[in-house]
Each structure stands twice: as structure tokens, then as C-alpha cells.
Symmetry: D2
Subunit: 337 residues, 4 copies
């Protein structure tokens, strides 16, 4: 940690800061420049949270040097984490595709979708039972009924299942039915929910918040891991920017950056990241080429009648074509699909 003193900070102010740092257990190393003084402080940055050094007289700002996450970073754990969900592994050589409708609507819809995505090569079935909707007047999901349908179709088809949990009170319920718990973009900093999901021991698919920095996203993963579950799958789903031609802006750079900073697997949701089925193919291919460990894609048998997010859903035949087109790209980056 580096403490930058203001231009004109007095010797007394510098000594006061040093004294406080030493009381907090840091070793201090002041460097006197012609105009400014900076103080290098060696120790655990977390200790300083109990003291607002940046409020002391003469302090301009504080520059952290160490990353704030420990368990999800590469500094302590160098090998990639491979998340196992039964016989499905995420983060290994094989790329994993998750697919299915935005919301679980009825058994026919779900079963017909499941059979088709399985045939096309998907390994995990997605489908929302609890839907966080911007409007209180929109369809909010089938809740436990939806979870049951999802579990049943998963069992019959042999697909693993992933579904969103939005409320701490539902973690136990959702854990009973689903193979993977999804924490949505809007819940990425619902820290109580992250903790409950971590305690559940279930694998967690952690979507990036709409305006979350990569560091904040990894800190959210740190909450889950520190609560007990090391099986976290990160999911880039587009960030909010000024561009309005697309629903979100897929931050493709995040893939190599996360791979460098963290050992956790990362997949991409091209449906939300673009907001339009016409651009899902391009975004999917780009994600695999950039090094993602998989994809989660919205597929609906009749998107014009979907109860949610129809505009960004692929029809099953288009999904099958996309899967075919991904194979040579996967091979080009030494992955299997």
C-alpha cells in the first residue's frame, strides 16, 4: 500500500501517518520527493479498513498494491479450478454449453427444448423459476412449480440443471431441485445471498453485475468461496454502457483479464450480452475464440410466444447450427466441444 501525501504536507503530518500505520502493524518506508512524499506501507491492507488514514491531515490518497481478493486470485492458487457437476466438468479441456428458455413455462415447452439442445450438444439445461423482472406487472416465474419441472426434465433427459435464486429465503429450496445455483447480474452484490449460496455447497454460476468492475466481480466470488463453496463459475453477460444499439456491451476483454487474475472458470451469456438473437452467433463464436470455458444461451421453441426475453432467444434449429459452427473454433483454441 502506498500513501501519497499532499504537496506541502508537513513533516509532522508525515510522522503522524507513519505512527498510525505502525500501530496498525505495518512497516513504513517514506520516500521524500522534490515536491511530494509517499509512504510505502508493508502489511495486510485489510487492517487499514479499521482506520480511515485517507482522512488524516496531509494525506492525498492511498494506492493499494495487493489485490483485495485472496481465495479466487492466482496469487495463492495457480492451477485452474475445474468445477464438477456429476460427470460434467466446467473449466477443463471440454467447453460446456448451457441452454434453455429464459423462463420455465410448462412441461411441453421445457421437454421439447431440452431434447433438442441435448441433441445439439448442450450439457446443462437452463430455465428460470424465479424471474427478477424490472416491472412488478411482468411474469415473475412459476416458482417451486417451475423448479419441479426443471428437475424432472433434467432427470429424464440426463441434462444437468441451472436456475436462478433471488432471495436468501429460497436458497435451500432451489438447492433441493437444481444442480447449479445461478446468482443473477442484479444480485451480484447481494452479499447475504452470496453467503447463503456459498454455504449451500452447490456450484454457483455468478453473473457479472451490469456496472460491476472485474475487481468487484471477483470480490463477489470471494464472498461465495469464503462462505464454503469453491465451485464458482463466473459468467460475463455484458455491461451497461452508453451504446443503445445493443441491450448490453459484451466485455470480451474480460475473458483474458479474468483468466489472468483468477483460477475460476468463466463462461459467457451471449443472449443478454447482445439482447438480440441475430447477434448471438457472432458473440458466441467470439467468446469461444477469446478463451471462454463455455456459454449459456437462451433457446425457446417459439420465441414470439416466450413469456420473457423472446427477442434474444434462438430457435432450436438455429441453436443446433450455431453449435456446429463452434466446433472448428473450439479446436482452433485447443478445446473440445
Amino acid at each position: 500500500m502506498i500513501i501519497v501525501m499532499k504537496t506541502g504536507a508537513t513533516e509532522r503530518q508525515i510522522q503522524d501517518v507513519e505512527k498510525v500505520l505502525e500501530e496498525l502493524g505495518f512497516q513504513t518506508h517514506p520516500i521524500y520527493g522534490a515536491v511530494k512524499t509517499v509512504i510505502g506501507a508493508i502489511g495486510d491492507r485489510r487492517l487499514v479498513e479499521a482506520h480511515s488514514i485517507d482522512h488524516m491531515e496531509g494525506v492525498e490518497n492511498i494506492v493499494p498494491i495487493m489485490s483485495p481478493y485472496k481465495l479466487v486470485g492466482r496469487e495463492l492458487i495457480h492451477d485452474n479450478t475445474v468445477v464438477k457437476v456429476g460427470d460434467v466438468t466446467i473449466g477443463g479441456e471440454e467447453l460446456i454449453v448451457m441452454a434453455g428458455p429464459c423462463a420455465v413455462e410448462d412441461e411441453d415447452q421445457l421437454m421439447s427444448t431440452a431434447l433438442k439442445i441435448k441433441e445439439a450438444g448442450a450439457k446443462v439445461l437452463r430455465g428460470g423459476a424465479f424471474k427478477p423482472r424490472t416491472s412488478p406487472y411482468s411474469f415473475q416465474g412459476l416458482e417451486e412449480e417451475g423448479l419441479k419441472l426443471l428437475a424432472e426434465v433434467g432427470r429424464e433427459t440426463g441434462l444437468k440443471t441451472v436456475t436462478e435464486v433471488v432471495d436468501t429465503r429460497d436458497v435451500e429450496l432451489v438447492s433441493r431441485y437444481a444442480d447449479i445455483l445461478q446468482v443473477g447480474a442484479r444480485s451480484m452484490q447481494n452479499f447475504k445471498l452470496l453467503t447463503e449460496c456459498g454455504k449451500s455447497q452447490k456450484p454457483v454460476l455468478l453473473k457479472r453485475g451490469l456496472s460491476a468492475t472485474i475487481e468487484e466481480w471477483l470480490m463477489a466470488a470471494e464472498y461465495v468461496v469464503s462462505a464454503g463453496s469453491s465451485n464458482v463459475i463466473l459468467c460475463e453477460r455484458g455491461i451497461r454502457t452508453f451504446e443503445t444499439a445493443t441491450r448490453n456491451t459484451l466485455d470480451i476483454n474480460a475473458i483474458p483479464v479474468v483468466k489472468e487474475l483468477s483460477h475460476l472458470p468463466i463462461i459467457v451469456d451471449p443472449s443478454h450480452a447482445t439482447g438480440n438473437w441475430r447477434w448471438v452467433d457472432a458473440a458466441s463464436r467470439a467468446s469461444i475464440a477469446a478463451g471462454a470455458d463455455g456459454l449459456i444461451i437462451e433457446v425457446h421453441p417459439d420465441p414470439s410466444r416466450a413469456s420473457s426475453d423472446g427477442q434474444q432467444s434462438l430457435k432450436p434449429d438455429k441453436f443446433a447450427n450455431l453449435m456446429k459452427s463452434l466446433k472448428p473454433i473450439a479446436k482452433a483454441v485447443d478445446r473440445a466441444l
Copy 2:
């Protein structure tokens, strides 16, 4: 609602869209241009949520005309909502200032702060008992112990109290102790929490999310009001932009825009909106001049020893000076302080 058809859409495609709209209960009015056709649709936009018309052949996009919120908008309710908390009214002629520490730490800290802010003219005491912190290793608040201290100090000083609730499971608990429930920026789209807060019948202080549009923010308020509480106070606390010199960017424009779109009161949190106590004064004065109904400001007796957000906290004497400087500005915009 306007449905814009693609250039080259066929007569058949146009008729199909009209047919679906009519089945959904809309009246349709096609307008044939030289290059493009648009279809005006009169009816309840919410009906269309059950049908993804934008996925139909030939449809380019859909332009909503009516705002999606009903209860919080000015279309049905023209008069300003005045929220009453005992003898304190928010949204009336008088401006209301809420102040106090970021986190409740101990009785001495809270009581000494409370006495000073009251003397300076504040009417509501703020203080966090449940703190949503980016890092799992940071201080997370005193929880029920903090709520008790807050209630006690409120009772002794005659100040009303506001504190954040972050978990649906805690709404009942927090409601027992606090006069106003705060929903924080990170929880703005925690729809289950919004619903629980609405059911509690307590006044709700609803902070704007870091990357929430004004429309999304009003939709979040719609959740609370539709669940039963019409006493919602909006709070602008800065949005996330590319600028890094400040912690957030105070969206001062939001004040007149919200006043035009909604009848709910709006206050500003200049502490989070700037992230630095040195800029809190300017932001506070600007907010009152722009028409805000009040402020919520972090005040701490010794910011350099605050357990959270010390950098943006004012010392009590600086807060008192700020309050004095706000009086002539309040008068200039025909408000009392």
C-alpha cells in the same frame, strides 16, 4: 405503442402483426410510408409482455409511448406525495436533512453525533447496522445490536431514524427498530426485498442503483408502492461513469427530471455521490438549488477512525457550517430549512 416494420416487410407480415395485436386487445393503426410501415397500437403495453412481437417476421423494433410505471408517475397522480414520519414531513415546503455515521459503532459515537446534528438542524439520524461491503473481510455492521443503539439514541434525542435493510429475512426486525427503511443502491433491483419493504408499511428510502436509469429507479419504486406502501422517498446518490476523480457522478439532472415524471419526494446523498468530504458542501448546495427535498449526509465525530467510509464523512462542526450555508439557498428556491 408503435411497431416499426423493417424496410421490405411484406403485406402478409404486417397483417400477421396486426392480427396478433388485435388478439391481445389492441386497436391497430398502420401507417404506410414510402420505405417503411409503422403500426400504431392502442391498449395496455403490459398485455404485450406475454407475446414477443419483436420476434415476429418483419418487425424491426417496438417503441413504447406510455411510461411503464403507473402508481409513482404523474399521469394518474398529479399532487406531490408528502411522506410523514411522525411530525417530520418529507416532500413538503420544509427541507429535511438526515445525518449520522456510515455505520453504527458504539453508543458514545452515535449519541455525540446525534446531539450535534440535531443542534445543527437535522431531523433524522442515519446509521448502518447491516453494511453491504464489497469485501467479505470488511466490517459488516453490528446488526441487531446496532439497531437497538440507533432506536435508543433516536428516542432520547427525539430524532427519527433511518437504516438500511439488505435481506428479506431482516425486514421485520429492522421495521421494529427504525422509522424509515433504507434500500441501498446495490439492492435497488432486489425485487423481493422491495416487495417486503412495501408490505411492512414503513416509509422507504430508495436509493438509485449505480447504473440504474431513472425509468428503472421509478419501476423499483413501483414495486414498493404496488406492495402496499405509498411512502417512498427517492434518493439520488451518484451513478457510475467513466470519471475516476470522484467515487460516483452526482446526476443533478435527475432532480428536475424525477420531479417532472413522479410525485414522490427526492433527496440527495452528497457523501456517496462525491466520495470525498471536501466536495460534500458544493454537492449539497447544488442539490438544494436544483430542487431536492432534502439531503442525507455522513457525519462522524472522528472520520479518521470511522469503521467505514471515513473519507466521505464530515466532522460535526463542518456539518453545522454547511447547514448554515444552505439556509439562504433554500430560501432562494422558496423552501424552508
Copy 3:
């Protein structure tokens, strides 16, 4: 064009707007809803620019239906534009890679780089002679001396050349030396410069502005084309967002969106889009997989001694490896490299 009237707009106000529209040459089609009235207006949206209808009594806002660009859009021209620079074609089946140093420094540096990128498969040599630098104290480029070196090395190696022009006064000079004129991100809305470049008849590489929407970018291209040059190559180079882990955010979605809206070729600059050589490979592969027509990459023989942007420059051997890795991805999307 749709004019949305305010709730409560009077019949008189509606008629006034209709009258003005008709005077401007529009056909009008009012649609009366239960709460709101909208007026469909058929005609040339440009006509309305001479009249601020949105300032008339009772008008809420105006929704354009037609895209504002004509020459660069797909509405009139359906076939892809293929830009020819001698025997090099951009936008055809073959992918084109441009490479070279950020700034032209000296002949040795440029020649050794040129020979290596040519060997690796690049077809165009890049190198800045006029550098737009954030600081007036940074190296501003060799100017005409740099142009001469670039032309000479281009001639000797058989590579085409591209270099930035930043001043209307230099367009003629730069046109004498370079094969392609580059308009940088900071100049994307320097409309006088766009016009001069269009008049020069040289192919123009038009970078997207840091905060330009896709529509604004296409409008900038419209300036160039309407001034006389139909040979415009768009270049996505990352946009500015809240994320600070990377220099910019590569908007990978822009590739399929631009391909849908415009017939112009689009390439990607992964060096600026990431800001760090370690992530250039992933961004390059993603861009090709998403459908880009080529890349422009910074390559420097000794990045640690580059006079500009060393951090994002690849060494020649890493560039050669990247080019090899792109071949199977190009093939997977039916392109040649």
C-alpha cells in the same frame, strides 16, 4: 417519424403540429389513444431539422423511424463494399491484417518491423507520423520526415501504408505519401477533417470515437462518403466505459451490428481496444470469429523502448505466432488469411 403528444395535449395543439408538419411536406396520420395521441409523419426527416417541432406546445418527444444515414446504410446499397488499395482488397473473402509501430521512429525500426510483419502475412504497414498525444510534453511524431520513411519502407517491401492525419491542413500532404488515410478516434467528429479526407479520394480508415454510438460512427462515415470517397473502412478500437482493468472496452457486438446496418467493411484494433499486449491475442481471435474483415495491430521490435504505446505493442515473433493461430479461426468463419 412519430410525434408523441403529451398526456392532456389539446386538440388545438395537435392540429398546430399537424399543420407545421404539412407545411414542411409531411403527410400526417394522427392516432388517438385513451391517454395519449401520436402523430405519424411520412416524409424526409431532414426537412424537420429546420423546425424544432419538439419545442411546440403539447409535444412530448419525437421518435425517428428511418436511420439518419443514407449512403453508408444497407437500405439503398445491399452489397458489401470492397475497398481496393492496389492489389489489396478489404471487405472481400480475404482478411487483411495491418501492423506496425504506433509511431514511426527511425528507418531501422520501421524496416525491420515491416519485413517481419510481411513475412507473418500482414498486407498493410501502419505507423504514425502525426501523433495526437494527451500531453503537450509527449513525443508528437516525426511529421513529414515520418511520412517519407513510411512511404519508402512501403515501396521497398511492397506493403501498403496507412497513417493518421489529424489536421485539415495536412490532408494533401499525407495523401501524397500514404495509401490509406487514418482518421483517429479523437477526430471521429472533426467534420471538416472528414470532408477533406472524403475529397482526397484516398481510402479512409475511420476509427470509432471513444464514446461514439454506432449511429454517430456511421454518420461520420456518411460525411466522408458524401464528400466524395466511398472507400471507407470502419475500425472498432474500443469504447470508454467504467471498467478500468483495461484501457478500453472492445465492443465486439459492434461487428455484427455494423454488418447488419452498413455495407462498409469493419476491422478491429485489438491493441487500443485492450491497452495491453497480453490480451491482444484473445481480442484478435474474438474479432475474427465475430466476423471482422481484418485487424490493425501494433508491433514494435523493442516495445520497452517504444516512443509511444509500448505497453500494448507485440514483439514481431509474438505477432507471427498470433497470425498462425488466426488461420483456423478464419477458416471456421469461411474467410481466408
Copy 4:
């Protein structure tokens, strides 16, 4: 400047970096932490621009300590700059309001506006002769004819004049007619234009770019000042964010931040910062309350017939009312109007 070495950087890598820094004239101070090493480097940061240290083996990143601007910062010049334009002073005790139409259209329009804004208390007449328009098909301004009208009306009314210059070739021409040269938001990083404006010795009104950080804005001012003109007036005009309810987001925080970092005066353009005349009053009052040195406001006698930006223009009587309402706010912050 602090060089942060990667976790696991070798002693050899650390020594190599130190050696290069010393060759560049820095004094080095390594600090060895348990996990990471950082090297404090004392000297002129500009020296390092000639060497990409961040590309050396083992280097993670570089943290600058000194601000990159010298002439416009407070480190060397503590007193506020007061820009004098004849008998009008900007940055002193008196607040200065500039007003007038977006574009100069004809003599009647300009003269009638000028007389009214003068009566209301404005001191400077604004009016565009060269208009940077997003569309090549929009009105581009009257050019020299407009300059002549502006100068004539200025002379007759005794108002000073400000108008935009968009092309290096026009700086001499515009300087002949106008009292203040305006550099628009889209030209903020047109460094050649900044230099020409600086050389002209005329006062320069420098608008902030749509996505410019405060640091980049001050660096643009540094270009002007280092070219010869110390009379720079900064102008906050709103930044681009995700919010679409307003044309731009007025960054009100920028006022106290700029006042702290720089000695230059800063004014606000509430017309562009909101994009709608209905919100100009609130934004103007907020700007004065936050400490701005003045305003520049679009006023048009018949906004519905303005050739540009009618939606954000005030009518003269509304402008006069606004001016009255600003007086008590000015007084509240110890300024005169």
C-alpha cells in the same frame, strides 16, 4: 512515480528496472514486501515517456504520483486566474452569464436576442457561425457571414462575443471577429486546434469532451496555455453516460474538483448538459450553488423555428426570469450577479 513489480518478480528484474530508471535520471527507492516489491522513483515523469518501463519483464504496472499538467494546476500557481475580456472579468467575484442562440441565423434574430439578454444581465453574446453537426445534411452555419453579424451586434450592444472555431484554418479568421474563441466538446482533443487557439492570444472557452476525464480536460487546457494563452475558461457541458432521459449528464462534482486541482475559471453550459429547456433552470441554479464562475445558456426568440438545438433553448422572457432567480443563490455563495 511508483513501479509495482509482479508477484514473483526476480531480484534481477527489479535491478533491471532500477537501472533503466537511473539512466533516465530518476532516484530509485525499492520497498520489498512479503509478496510484492514496489520501486519509488523520484524525478520527472515525462522522462519516462521515452521508455515503456511497463513493458519490462516483471513489471505489473506504474502508478503516477504527480499530476501530468503543470501550467494549469495549483501546484505551481495558487491564485485563481481571472480572464479579462475588455471590461468583463471571468473568474473574479462577479458571475458572468453568456447567452444567445445556438446558431447565428440572421440579423433580426441575433439583435433582438442580444438586446433581451443584455437587459436581463448577460455580459457575453454567444452564437455559432461554424456548427459541428452530427449529420452532413444538417445546417452547418453561416460561416464568415455569421461572424460578421455577431461582431456587428456585439459592437452595437456593447456585449462581448464568443463563437466556436472548428478548424485550424479558421482560427485567424474567427480571431478577427470574436472576443472569445470557443473550442467545442468534439474538438477538446483536437490538439492542433488547441495549439493554434493558444497562439492566437485570444481568451479560449474550452468545453469538456463528451467522455473526457477531468484530467484529460486539464491536459487539453495545458495545450492551450503551453502554446501561449493563459486565458482559458473551462466549460462543463455534461458527459455521456448510460442515462438516456437527458441528452447528457451534468457532472456537477466537476466544479469543486476542478476548483481544487486548477486555478482556471470554470463555467457551465446547462443547455447541452440537460438537452431540454425545461431542466435548464434547475441545472443553472445548481451550478451557481456549486461554485461555478458563470453560465453559457442557449436563448432563442422562437425556439420552435431554431435551425439547431431548439429543444434546449430558452425564450428571452424565461431567461430573464432565470437570471432573477439566480441572484439570491449567487449571494448565498458570496458572489455577485
